[in-house]
């Protein structure tokens, strides 16, 4: 994989982490109780650290004309490649748990592959992230069971979150040229491997939590081409505000 394509690959992964970190940080001071407040922002901090490491590396691979901060704060919406699932809002705690549980599985599988590559920077990032994702997955899976098999209300809210978010899951195993290049270099699992991994885990966990896995829902697509839901524009407006308003300032 040449540097430019590897850079694009890192930006995609970095974008998933960055946008999720933003959503997680929005939960600050909004948790259902203090311990969970701390947990959610802590998980956000892990994702932010992964995003930073990936974007620093992507910027270097690009040739150094842009910094990681340029990538995060100066790119317009259409140049972001995070999955639409990652930008979905924290409608309620169930939406957070479902979104993050599914994305934790995706990241686990992704980092597993990356942890074995010869590129020391990437394998280093992946090995550290794997440790973090292992407890992310555990934390969100635990909540999935509590909410799914808790009260009638929590069950209903969680099933609603699943039903409304499910259309965004298809993107997680979609493939384009960059993915094919990454797969060829053993940097990423194939689409079918990812799909099998996700569906096996999700179906089993949902069923354990007395929740239903949706069927025959149309899967939307677009983030690989920079197409998003309307939520991303607002998120970036907020995130990029200072860098855009004071382009000459150093912080």
């Amino acid at each position: 994989m040449d540097n430019l394509n590897l850079s694009k690959f890192c930006i995609r992964l970095g974008d998933h982490c960055l946008i999720m970190a933003h959503r997680q940080s929005e939960l600050c001071s909004n948790g259902p109780f203090l311990e969970e407040d701390i947990a959610q922002i802590n998980l956000g901090l892990d994702l932010l650290g992964q995003a930073e490491a990936l974007l620093i590396y992507a910027a270097k691979l690009e040739g150094g004309t842009r910094t990681a901060d340029d990538l995060a704060f100066r790119r317009p919406e259409r140049q972001f490649h995070n999955f639409m699932l990652t930008e979905q809002p924290n409608t309620d705690f169930a939406f957070v748990i479902v979104r993050q549980y599914i994305m934790s599985l995706y990241l686990l599988k992704t980092y597993q592959a990356l942890s074995k590559v010869e590129d020391d920077t990437l394998s280093g990032i992946a090995l550290k992230a794997l440790k973090e994702l292992t407890y992310h997955e555990r934390h969100f899976a635990m909540w999935l069971k509590r909410l799914g098999d808790g009260t009638e209300e929590s069950h209903e809210r969680t099933q609603t979150a699943i039903n409304e978010l499910w259309m965004f899951v298809g993107e997680l195993y979609e493939e384009d040229e960059i993915d094919f290049m990454a797969q060829k270099a053993s940097y990423a699992p194939t689409g079918i491997e990812m799909k099998t991994f996700l569906m096996e885990h999700i179906t089993a966990k949902f069923s354990e939590a007395t929740l239903e896995t949706p069927h025959s829902i149309y899967m939307t697509t677009g983030s690989k081409k920079g197409i998003h839901t309307e939520y991303l524009g607002y998120l970036l407006t907020e995130m990029q505000y200072l860098q855009r308003a004071y382009p000459d300032a150093k912080w």
Binding site: S25, P32, L34, I38, I41, G150, S154, E238, L242, W251
Partner: protein
């Protein structure tokens, strides 16, 4: 042994600098004073997450965002730690939160001021945490064991927070004209409320008498305030900003700064609910608590089901 004798013994232990532990005998007033002070401290940590949390999503660099997120997480951790320490006095966290929501328990008034620009993240870390540390370093020697130990742990993290805040302000003060202006403006807005954080002058501090006698409080409001000013003025000068006090003057004889009059009307007005953010902060906390109720119920129901199986 009668209550009076117990109180004499208690005071002897205090005078001998013994630490009082949760199961030890203590006068009811001592317990009440600690619950009030420690829970106020815990609530302050938690309410303080709001003005700073307000800027995490707008932090201007990945590094700044990471540091601020970590900092706010620390504050939440302090809150948790202090709630637990307060619970050793025989009150539950639910009761403490209930009192906060009813307006019976207070939190640091400084958080009733809005965080308007990124420079405010600097001012809060530098001045607000700086004032808090000055107070907390002194509290490491407080007579109640769990509180003293909490302070030792918390002080270590707070000094990192203060450096983080100062770094933000210093880099803005050395930045563009607009950044400098934001830095000075943040200092102007947070300077006086930070001085108010130490509480009324010693002559007007109604609860200080007992607190000093019981060694809950080890140094007076005015002593701590002066220490903070003496320490901070040179930090202000170093980065080329100006303390917003025309009466500030070095006193050679006292080897300390003289400073202007604090607006105590504002202090009392904000304590009594008149600050720009009192209503917002409390509403936010109540809303998060109410919104989280179904989650807490779900967790409890699930745990109950698991216990049966």
């Amino acid at each position: 042994m009668g209550a009076e004798e117990l109180n004499v013994l208690f005071q002897e232990r205090i005078d001998a600098n013994d630490k009082i532990e949760p199961r030890d005998n203590m006068p009811e007033e001592y317990r009440k004073h600690l619950i009030r002070q420690m829970s106020q401290h815990a609530h302050s940590e938690v309410i303080g997450m709001q003005p700073e949390g307000n800027w995490i999503t707008r932090a201007p660099s990945l590094r700044a965002k990471k540091i601020l997120l970590a900092k706010v997480q620390d504050e939440a951790g302090h809150g948790l730690y202090l709630y637990s320490a307060t619970e050793t006095l025989g009150i539950t966290r639910d009761e403490l939160i209930e009192k906060l929501h009813q307006g019976k328990a207070k939190y640091a008034s400084i958080f009733n001021y809005p965080a308007l620009t990124w420079a405010d993240m600097g001012a809060i870390g530098w001045l607000v945490d700086g004032a808090a540390i000055t107070n907390q370093v002194s509290l490491q020697k407080t007579s109640y064991g769990p509180y003293a130990r909490a302070m030792v742990k918390i002080c270590k993290e707070e000094s990192f927070h203060q450096r983080q805040g100062y770094e933000i302000i210093a880099s803005m003060a050395a930045g563009t004209d607009e950044q400098k202006e934001m830095a000075q403006d943040a200092l102007n807005r947070f300077w006086w409320p930070s001085l108010m954080m130490f509480g009324p002058h010693d002559s007007d501090s109604p609860r200080s008498g007992n607190a000093m006698k019981w060694k809950i409080k080890r140094e007076s409001n005015d002593v701590l305030r002066k220490r903070f000013i003496d320490k901070t003025v040179s930090q202000v000068e170093l980065i080329g900003l100006t303390v917003p006090d025309k009466d500030l003057k070095w006193n050679e004889k006292e080897q300390s700064y003289d400073f202007g009059a604090i607006d105590w009307d504002e202090f009392w007005a904000v304590i009594k609910g008149g600050g720009p953010c009192n209503i917002k902060r409390l509403k936010h906390h109540k809303k998060a608590h109410t919104d989280g109720e179904w989650v807490r119920k779900a967790a409890a129901a699930y745990a109950q089901k698991q216990a049966k199986n």
